[in-house]
């Protein structure tokens, strides 16, 4: 009963759902719709990858939504109020988000707060921060303007894959939004870190058996801080992507993102018990959520029902995670 099984089952589920929706709605398989899904959920996938790090360390990051909002507003302010060009503002915004993640890590390690409490508190604090620095409130005239910086706007590009490959004449392939390209890069980097670097192994050790980590000389605190910093870093990337797409940032940017990211990460195999997870699973989880919600919209199911379904999916994922864990524990005890 390999842990890889859920991944395989996940892939199958993904394919099945995809097929189902394609049958029920002709629009589903269209290039335009795929573009919608990609641009609508790539950022969610990036956040889910970021969420995987704290979860693998047996924690959780509830503040990702507020962190995204913070980064978005910082970018907005830097560009619109201080006039910083994109190539300077973007790295700074990302850095702010990463630091916010570091703060989460410090709260968990230095103050020994439970992760959900610490990130619940920062969820509030960072959202407050968004309001505090909101350029739109300080300079109300900016509220109606959109960002014109070329560096930022270029991030909303779409890459016409079809033309590159040359298949454009045969079939209309979806153009890939840049957020998807970013996702691919992040996924590659994250997967490398998680499975091929010492840090990735240390992370799984800290989450899987903190005592063993301590005995092995691993600095549990440093690993945890790094995990939350990485989550913040991903939030920063997403903030930039969202600002590019909407050419503005609002006080509400990022609200409510914590739930889908946790759901996506758990569905993707990052066990809440700690020690298990990879970068590809959360992506599948995020797009699973994505095609479900988009597919449902196309069929005509209301937004509100989708909210219910997101919650139900999270419950189901968590229940499955727990059931698998219990089954593995029982098998280990019998295995002797």
């Amino acid at each position: 009963m390999l842990r890889r099984f859920p991944g395989f089952a996940l892939l199958c589920l993904f394919v099945v759902l995809f097929a189902l929706f394609s049958v029920f709605s002709r629009r589903f398989l269209s290039a335009a719709n795929i573009e919608d899904i990609l641009s609508g959920y790539s950022f969610m996938a990036i956040l889910a990858i970021g969420q995987a790090f704290p979860i693998i360390a047996r924690g959780v990051d509830l503040s990702v939504g507020s962190n995204v909002g913070l980064g978005a507003m910082v970018l907005f302010d830097l560009n619109m109020i201080f006039g910083l060009p994109g190539y300077a503002a973007i790295p700074m915004a990302i850095a702010v988000c990463a630091l916010a993640g570091t703060l989460n890590g410090l709260l968990v390690t230095l103050l020994k707060l439970q992760p959900f409490v610490a990130t619940l508190a920062t969820l509030a604090a960072y959202r407050g921060g968004v309001y505090a620095i909101s350029g739109r409130q300080l300079y109300p005239e900016l509220a109606t303007q959109s960002i014109r910086d070329p560096w930022i706007r270029s991030l909303d590009a779409y890459v016409d894959v079809g033309r590159w490959i040359g298949l454009a004449r045969l079939v209309k392939l979806p153009s890939l939004p840049l957020s998807f390209i970013v996702l691919v890069v992040v996924a590659f980097a994250a997967q490398t870190v998680l499975s091929r670097t010492r840090f990735g192994l240390d992370l799984k050790t800290v989450g899987g058996n903190p005592e063993a980590a301590h005995l092995a000389g691993i600095s549990v605190n440093r690993v945890q801080v790094a995990a939350y910093t990485l989550s913040g870093l991903c939030a920063g990337l997403v903030a930039v992507v969202l600002v590019a797409r909407f050419t503005t940032a609002t006080e509400a940017t990022g609200t409510g993102m914590e739930l889908p990211t946790i759901a996506a990460a758990v569905i993707g195999g990052a066990s809440l018990q700690g020690g298990v997870g990879n970068a590809l699973g959360p992506i599948l989880g995020a797009f699973l959520l994505g095609i479900t919600l988009v597919g449902l919209t196309l069929i005509g199911v209301s937004q509100f029902t989708q909210q219910i379904l997101t919650g139900l999916i999270l419950l189901g994922a968590v229940w499955y995670d727990r059931a698998t864990w219990d089954r593995q524990q029982a098998a280990a005890a019998r295995n002797g």
């Binding site: 009963m1 390999l2 842990r3 490398t192 091929r196 670097t197 010492r198 192994l201 240390d202 799984k204 050790t205 899987g208 058996n209 005592e211 063993a212 980590a213 301590h214 005995l215 092995a216 000389g217 691993i218 020690g275 298990v276 593995q328 280990a332 005890a333 019998r334 295995n335 002797g336």
Partner: protein, 506 residues
């Protein structure tokens, strides 16, 4: 099979001792092991065994003494540093990460890396393979640890220690959870390690194994090593005798004066038939009579507590059933057991028994809330009466129902725990190590109480590793060894030597 006499000492601990405040857990002790020697370390609970191990492996910093490995003074007090200097410990609980591979676990925290900062799996593989070949431990490097059997996991832990160039390996109860053939396998590995001049300290209560695999043995009691020598110079009964102390002689004399009631009134209150839990205990059968005290004794690790918890419903029961009042039953929860007249005073009173932040009165009523309430509302008067009743009956000090339990002495805490269950008036009362860590006075009071309720017709089952206690208070003595019930004797007729031998597993 003996390592050369007077050879170079691998480990030499001089005068290591450990104090906690005014309590001396380990008296200044000398302990030395030679390269290629397998030293057994035995002793009862509280003998100081685990303190010595913790001092030698770095979990504790000793208050006195020094430790030398290969004649070099070691830096103490941190397991990781000790590990780096060459002393490894394979604990009972796993220090492996089940979601990672064997390879990653062997090099936990220090996997070799390439120029680009990535893990160099090829070098890992090569190093692991050479280790596996050198020490003849067969394990698949790419296997996920969580899927391996327990004995294979132990071998991975050994490989992990060897990869760190450990010269001395402590094995703490290494054969817990292992089957017979797996134990053999582990012993073969130990023999191989011997030939490589690795020193091993084999900490175990399974005397069979100690006699089979060790060259020498150190016996601990009361915080010090009381006997040390070649295994060939001692036999099992003598070893057990030394372990549990000569107080036994005195206790036997006193006990002879007590009235014994084996099989009590003749009415069977509890019948256990072929109880079993996979990999823990097997085929345990016995009857318990009203009006008697049956003591189940044995060494730690005989799995007596496991049997009792399985009966009580707080742990699984795979095979067998129990019979109470003519009904064949298996309890699925403590609640069910309690409503069927079963009571269990658990071994660890702090962890499993008491509400430390609550009052004596609150603790006393915890099982019998229905008795002190009407429609869910607490009846203060009834509660006061109940508390007074138990505090008087057991002479609990301070006689203040609102006193917080964490402030009581160990003896009084235990009395509160016992009082709580006496209130429930169960038809079968089980006490697991009822007088551990309790002063002599309180012990005597508790024994008197137990005899009193026995005389009143109560069926009492006591689990005890304290042979003095067992000889003092039991009407019948049952002996468990390694998860099996080996024999039951009438206490009055019990031959002390025979019991010692049986406990040791002869």
């Amino acid at each position: 099979m003996m390592a050369p006499e007077g050879g170079p000492k691998l480990l030499r601990a001089n005068g290591v001792g450990k104090r906690f405040g005014s309590i001396e857990a380990l008296r200044p002790t000398n302990f030395s092991v030679e390269a290629g020697e397998v030293r057994g370390l035995v002793g009862s609970n509280g003998a100081g065994k685990s303190t010595l191990i913790k001092v030698l492996t770095g979990a504790y910093r000793p208050t006195t003494g020094e430790i030398l490995l290969n004649n070099e003074v070691m830096q103490l007090g941190d397991p990781h540093t000790m590990l780096r200097q060459g002393i490894a410990c394979i604990y009972q609980h796993s220090s492996l990460v089940s979601s990672l591979s064997v390879l990653d676990n062997i090099f936990l925290g220090r996997q070799p890396i390439t120029r680009f900062g990535l893990v160099d799996s090829r070098r890992q593989q090569l190093e692991a393979e050479s280790l596996i070949a050198e020490y003849r431990i067969e394990v698949d490097p790419s296997a996920k640890v969580g899927l391996l059997s327990t004995v294979k996991q132990k071998e991975v832990e050994i490989l992990k220690a060897l990869a760190l160039r450990a010269r001395l390996i402590f094995m703490d109860e290494p054969t817990a959870w292992l089957s017979h053939s797996e134990v053999q396998k582990l012993h073969r590995t130990i023999m191989d390690l011997k030939t490589k001049n690795v020193g091993i300290v084999y900490v175990s209560h399974v005397l069979d194994e100690v006699f089979r695999v060790c060259d020498s043995v150190s016996i601990m009691r009361d915080g010090a090593i009381v006997w040390e020598g070649a295994i060939a110079d001692i036999d099992r009964p003598k070893l057990v005798n030394i372990m549990v102390g000569e107080k036994l002689g005195r206790a036997s004399l006193e006990a002879g004066a007590q009235v014994r009631r084996p099989r009590g009134t003749g009415e069977i209150r509890l019948s256990c038939r072929a109880l079993g839990r996979k990999n823990v205990f097997y085929d345990v059968s016995f009857d318990l009579y009203a009006g008697e005290i049956l003591c189940i004794t044995g060494l730690v690790g005989a799995k007596r507590s496991d049997v009792v918890h399985s009966i009580f419903g707080s742990a699984p029961l795979d095979e067998g059933y129990i019979e109470m009042s003519g009904r064949k039953i298996r309890f699925r929860s403590p609640k069910e057991a309690i409503s069927n007249g079963f009571g269990l005073v658990p071994e660890d009173r702090r962890r499993d028994g008491l509400l430390s932040a609550h009052s004596i009165s609150d603790n006393l009523v915890l099982v019998v809330l229905e008795k002190v309430s009407r429609f869910g509302v607490l009846d203060r008067a009834a509660r006061r009466r109940l508390a007074a009743r138990q505090m008087d009956s057991l002479a609990i000090v301070p006689r203040n129902p609102s006193a917080v339990v964490s402030g009581l002495s160990g003896g009084n805490q235990q009395k509160v725990l016992i009082g709580k269950w006496l209130e429930a008036a169960p038809s079968v009362l089980v006490l697991d190590e009822p007088t551990v860590g309790i002063d002599v006075g309180a012990k005597a009071e508790i024994y008197a109480k137990l005899r009193a309720i026995r005389d009143a017709g109560q069926a009492v089952l006591i689990i005890s590793s304290d042979l003095e206690e067992v000889m003092t208070i039991s009407d019948r003595i049952a002996i468990m060894v390694n998860g099996r019930l080996e024999a039951i004797h009438d206490a009055g007729a019990a031959n002390r030597e025979k019991i010692l031998a049986e406990i040791g597993g002869d």
